[in-house]
């Protein structure tokens, strides 16, 4: 009943898939942002898990995890700013209204 | 510092730099642009004069004080290049000669293309002519206008003009065939646009005609250029170059070379190594070898220009002189024999040393350059281009561009393919004579003032061809030397007079807005200064003694008299008589023109303003030169003649 690396990785995969599906299903821009956060979390989990199970990368894994967290924070700030801007311009947070890229 | 390299580079690229500077001007500042360009041409003129002074003091006065044959050899490009390469091989930049007016700098090393510039008595007068005429033409360009649009578009004009100057100067100073070709092509495009945009009513037709004709010539030159490049010049470069190449070959392809020891491999590499080059000096040496080899029934002993063999010969001679041991002598002789055998095998196998190759390439080069000269029947671009081009461009076209053809023949076609040149000398001379007569007759029939001047150019450039072509035997080499010098002098003289004539036609065109000779008359009374200046320039063109046109013509005709291809003296005599009789025709059409333009009365032109001070500034230098060069030709001949005579010396001395 040992907890192996695979367990953590599977957890990370669940988080990742949840994040991806979240991005795909939310029409609310902030919902999409939440999906992104989940995806990033999945990555962090994997980093930390790898770090734990491979002593030679112990520090690097954690450092990277930390960087990811920080990046996520930054990304969140920017994303929210964009969302607010979007809201200001379109008076909505429904990303389906942002279809300028439609071919 | 290699100051001569810097000077020559400045000479070539200063106009381009000024052209770039034009980009900084606001659109409205058209006069400022003109002044700026004028400054550019003036600076270039100054540089060329500085180069001339340095060349005179550094090369002519130092290396050829007495103008003996040894002096001429010492101041030849050949010797100066050899000394420079020697210094470069030794690697001590301190010994680098600063003042030898040749400079080499690797450019595209992979293909042995060098940035190789040099100046001698053949290129320098033409460089001076170019810078002077560019300056004057720029002076004449201040009121340039597009024919039908009426706007000036000065920036484009000046940029193209300056670019053209770079091209012309580069062509004259380049000693690498590839570089030469690039500059040659650089000239083409600006000229096309200058005619095609600022020209007269039929400018597009004239520009395209000019472009296509010249491009055709360029193609021929390109073929020859490639053919020369792919010939093996191994025997005509210094031993060190061969060794360096062989070493590289051993490094890269060592496995495929026979032999086990590095020494053996090196020796084998030396045998098979090929040296391809665009170096005009080396190619000329090979050309001379071809002349000696083919001219003496394929006898390798006649070849005296292969450095390795010459060294070995000198060694044998020195040993014999010193009464060295018989062993040493025989060993040296064996070495010499081996070298000769190698040379012989290469001479036999190399395509370069076949009559077919020499003849073909000579014809290609000749046609390529003859189009520029122009020689009948490649001359019909000239009248159209001249007629349609704006006045300053006509000046450049007649004054410099035509000279490039002659220069190319003297600098490239004759030295590299001398065997064919001698073989075809009578035909080339015949074309020259035909040009003289044909141009004179055709000029007589023209009613367009500019066309008349253009055809007179055809006629006068015929003297250049004739002077170059009158190959003579060693015993009469000074006759040919007269011819070559005469051809060079004629180029200079014609550069001055034809530019002057076109300028003067432009002056009257600005007032009358037509060029029909039958509609002028009586201009001498309202415009006495203009008439006086015109009379001098036209008389100079006519070849009046005491004017620059005369000296060249006389020298060429004198040399033609002694021209005896294949021992047939009557050919030379016939040519000389025809050329001499043409002076009557020349006088007829020039005087008839003067009569139709200046004499008589014409109320319509009664109040024409005389030539302005500005225009006079353009014309007076030409007038002064036309007279000074006619009265005191040593001014040019003194430093031009050694180089030209050296060229003749090297070419005639081939028979064993």
């Amino acid at each position: 009943m040992t907890i192996t690396l695979n367990h953590y990785l599977l957890l990370g995969a669940i988080l990742f898939v949840c994040g991806a599906v979240c991005m795909a299903t939310k029409r609310n821009a902030i919902g999409v942002l939440m999906g992104v956060e989940l995806v990033l979390n999945a990555a962090t989990v994997n980093f930390v898990a790898f770090a734990h199970y491979n002593p030679s990368f112990e520090i690097e894994g954690q450092i990277f995890a930390m960087f990811v967290i920080v990046m996520a924070a930054a990304e969140a700030a920017i994303a929210l700013a964009i969302v607010l801007n979007f809201y200001n311009n379109h008076a909505t947070v429904d990303i389906d209204t942002a279809e300028e890229l439609k071919g | 510092m290699e100051t001569d390299l810097i000077w020559m580079t400045l000479l070539v690229f200063v106009p381009s730099v000024f052209a770039l500077g034009l980009l900084l001007f606001p659109r409205k500042w058209e006069d400022a642009m003109c002044w700026w360009s004028l400054l550019g041409t003036a600076v270039t003129l100054g540089i060329s004069i500085a180069i001339f002074i340095n060349y005179k003091s550094g090369v002519v006065d130092r290396q050829g004080p007495n103008n003996t044959r040894a002096d001429r050899v010492a101041m030849s490009l050949d010797a100066r290049t050899a000394a420079m390469d020697e210094a470069a091989q030794e690697g001590s930049s301190a010994q680098f000669k600063q003042n030898d007016w040749v400079a080499r700098y690797p450019w595209i090393a992979r293909f042995n293309i060098d940035y190789f510039l040099g100046i001698d008595g053949i290129s320098l007068p033409l460089v001076l002519l170019t810078t002077l005429l560019s300056f004057l033409a720029m002076l004449a360009s201040f009121h340039i206008k597009r024919y039908d649009k009426g706007d000036r578009f000065v920036r484009g004009y000046c940029m193209l003009f300056l670019l053209l100057e770079t091209g012309m100067l580069g062509t004259f100073v380049a000693l690498d065939f590839f570089l030469f070709y690039i500059f040659w092509e650089v000239m083409l495009l600006p000229m096309y646009f200058l005619i095609g945009i600022w020209g007269g009513p039929r400018r597009e037709y004239a520009a395209i005609k000019f472009f296509l004709y010249t491009l055709l010539g360029s193609v021929f030159i390109l073929i020859a250029l490639l053919a020369f490049y792919f010939s093996n010049m191994r025997d005509f470069v210094s031993d060190k170059v061969v060794a360096a190449r062989a070493n590289r070959l051993v490094e890269t392809e060592g496995d495929r070379l026979p032999g086990q020891q590095p020494q053996e491999k090196l020796a084998a590499a030396k045998e098979v190594v090929r040296v391809n080059t665009f170096d005009l000096i080396v190619l000329a040496r090979a050309g001379r070898a071809a002349l000696q080899y083919l001219g003496n029934d394929r006898n390798v002993d006649a070849v005296t220009v292969a450095p390795a063999v010459e060294e070995a010969k000198a060694k044998v001679a020195a040993l014999k002189e010193a009464n060295a041991a018989a062993d040493d002598i025989s060993r040296a002789e064996k070495e010499l024999a081996a070298l000769k055998a190698g040379l012989n095998s290469r001479l036999e196998s190399e395509w370069f040393f076949t009559p077919a190759f020499q003849l073909t390439m000579f014809l290609f080069l000749l046609i390529g350059f003859a189009i520029k000269v122009p020689v009948f029947p490649f001359h019909t671009w000239l009248p159209d281009a001249h007629v349609e081009a704006p006045t300053p461009i006509s000046m450049i076209l007649a004054g410099v561009l035509l000279k490039l053809g002659g220069y190319g023949i003297i600098r490239i076609a004759y030295p590299i393919c001398p065997w064919a040149a001698e073989y075809l000398a009578a035909w080339v001379a015949a074309f020259g004579v035909f040009n003289i007569v044909y141009g004179a007759f055709a000029a007589m029939a023209q009613t367009d003032f500019k066309k008349l001047v253009a055809y007179s150019s055809v006629s006068h450039m015929g003297y250049v061809i004739l002077g170059i072509a009158v190959w003579n035997s060693a015993a009469n080499s000074d006759a040919w030397s007269w011819g070559m010098n005469g051809a060079m002098y004629q180029m200079i003289g014609h550069g001055i007079t034809s530019a002057g004539m076109f300028f003067l036609v432009g002056v009257i065109y600005d007032r009358a807005h037509h060029r029909n000779l039958d509609n002028f008359r009586g201009l001498f009374e309202p415009m006495p200064l203009y008439g006086g200046v015109s009379a001098i320039i036209f008389f100079a063109a006519m070849g009046l003694p005491g004017m620059c046109g005369f000296i060249g013509e006389v020298m060429v005709v004198f040399s033609a008299w002694k021209f005896a291809p294949g021992g047939h003296q009557w050919i030379g005599i016939t040519f000389a008589i025809l050329a001499a009789l043409t002076v009557v025709l020349t006088a007829a059409y020039i005087l008839w023109t003067l009569q139709r333009v200046f004499m008589g009365t014409n109320p319509a032109y009664k109040n024409y303003p005389d030539i302005t001070v500005w225009e006079l500034c353009c014309a007076i230098p030409l007038v002064i030169l036309a007279v000074v060069l006619g009265v005191f030709p040593p001014l040019v001949l003194n430093w031009m003649e050694p180089s030209v005579t050296h060229l003749v010396d090297t070419l005639v001395s081939f028979r064993m």
Binding site: M1, C18, A20, A24, I59, Q62, I78, T92, V93 | -
Partner: protein
């Protein structure tokens, strides 16, 4: 061991279920709440893996910072119609299918990773994950690593005060990247503030 396993499963299920809930919840405010749990669960996982500092960071930044920010954003924009933006069932189905497919692929690949990597080294004398005393990669250690000091005992690290033997400093240290990230963050914040600033010119629009 059992305890650890149980602890893992509790945390894992909490996290996973919260994450799934984020996805399926239609109300954005609720989704934010679920996300809070998911992130907290992840923090738990970190603690479980012995990465105390990371776990703490996760709690601080994510739960304390990012999420507040998100909620703040929700508050700002959460006006009537946007709270429940729905999508069609077909889209749901497609997304779900794709998500499951992705999960399958990931799972299959993960399970094929080489066994030696995923087993804890036998000779590792250190306490198992989650056990006290196995805090080799704790915050002090991490801090030392920032300065390039590694594989030393926490005490040694501390006593050395970051100034340790040269032979140990051969590996890379992360202070500079960290600083860069910090600056980056600052820049981003400023940028965000700029982007989100009120458009005075268009004051008419609500």
């Amino acid at each position: 061991m059992i305890l650890q396993a149980v602890l893992f499963y509790i945390l894992a299920i909490l996290t996973a279920v919260s994450a799934v809930a984020v996805v399926v919840t239609q109300n954005i405010v609720r989704a934010a709440t679920w996300l809070l749990f998911a992130l907290a669960g992840t923090a738990g996982i970190f603690f479980h893996l012995g990465a105390d500092f990371i776990g703490a960071t996760q709690l601080l930044i994510y739960v304390g910072g990012t999420l507040v920010l998100v909620v703040f954003g929700v508050m700002l924009t959460a006006q009537g119609p946007f709270v429940n933006l729905r999508i069609s069932a077909a889209e749901w189905a497609i997304s779900l299918a794709v998500g499951l497919l992705l999960y399958g692929v990931l799972a299959v690949s993960l399970l094929q990773v080489d066994p030696p990597l995923i087993t804890t080294p036998v000779e590792d004398s250190r306490p198992a994950p989650g056990m006290p005393g196995r805090s080799l990669a704790g915050s002090k250690h991490l801090g030392a690593a920032m300065l390039g000091d590694r594989h030393t005992t926490p005490d040694a690290t501390l006593s050395a005060g970051g100034v340790v033997g040269d032979q140990k400093r051969t590996k890379m240290h992360y202070l500079l990247p960290f600083e860069i990230v910090s600056v980056h963050l600052l820049v981003v914040l400023i940028g965000a503030a700029y982007l989100a600033r009120a458009k005075r010119k268009r004051g008419v629009t609500p």
